[in-house]
Symmetry: C2
Subunit: 74 residues, 2 copies
């Protein structure tokens, strides 16, 4: 299955913000936000399609506004 | 079930942008973006939890960046 461009952009943005904001490990960040590491990995690769509730949970865990996670998507 | 504040904010934002950008009817906008009118109605009331794919589809239908739909969410 081809991964849509917006999912790739979201995943790259999540990975960039996660690392920039001090969560070098997917495992530690996953625990912090209460999600599974494999799910975080899938989001960062673009294979998962997060809901609004999950986007907000990720943003809160990173201490950024939810819109920041979508800022590179067109 | 209590509707989370971010869903209410998203729904109000969607309704505002839809009307501002010329789609006075949910039915016409739903047809434009290829979704059901009852689903658009549920999104605007906050009862539905859209995926990233749906957020992007709505944004494209409105001709705004996806982040614009989340701009009022904290």
């Amino acid at each position: 299955m081809t991964i849509p461009a917006h999912r790739i952009a979201f995943g790259e943005r999540l990975r960039t913000l996660r690392r920039e904001l001090g969560w070098s490990s997917q495992e530690a960040f996953a625990h912090h936000v209460g999600l599974d590491r494999t799910y975080i990995s899938g989001l960062e690769r673009g294979s998962r399609n997060p809901t609004l509730d999950v986007i907000v949970k990720l943003a809160h865990g990173l201490d950024v506004k939810p819109a920041e996670l979508l800022s590179t998507i067109y």
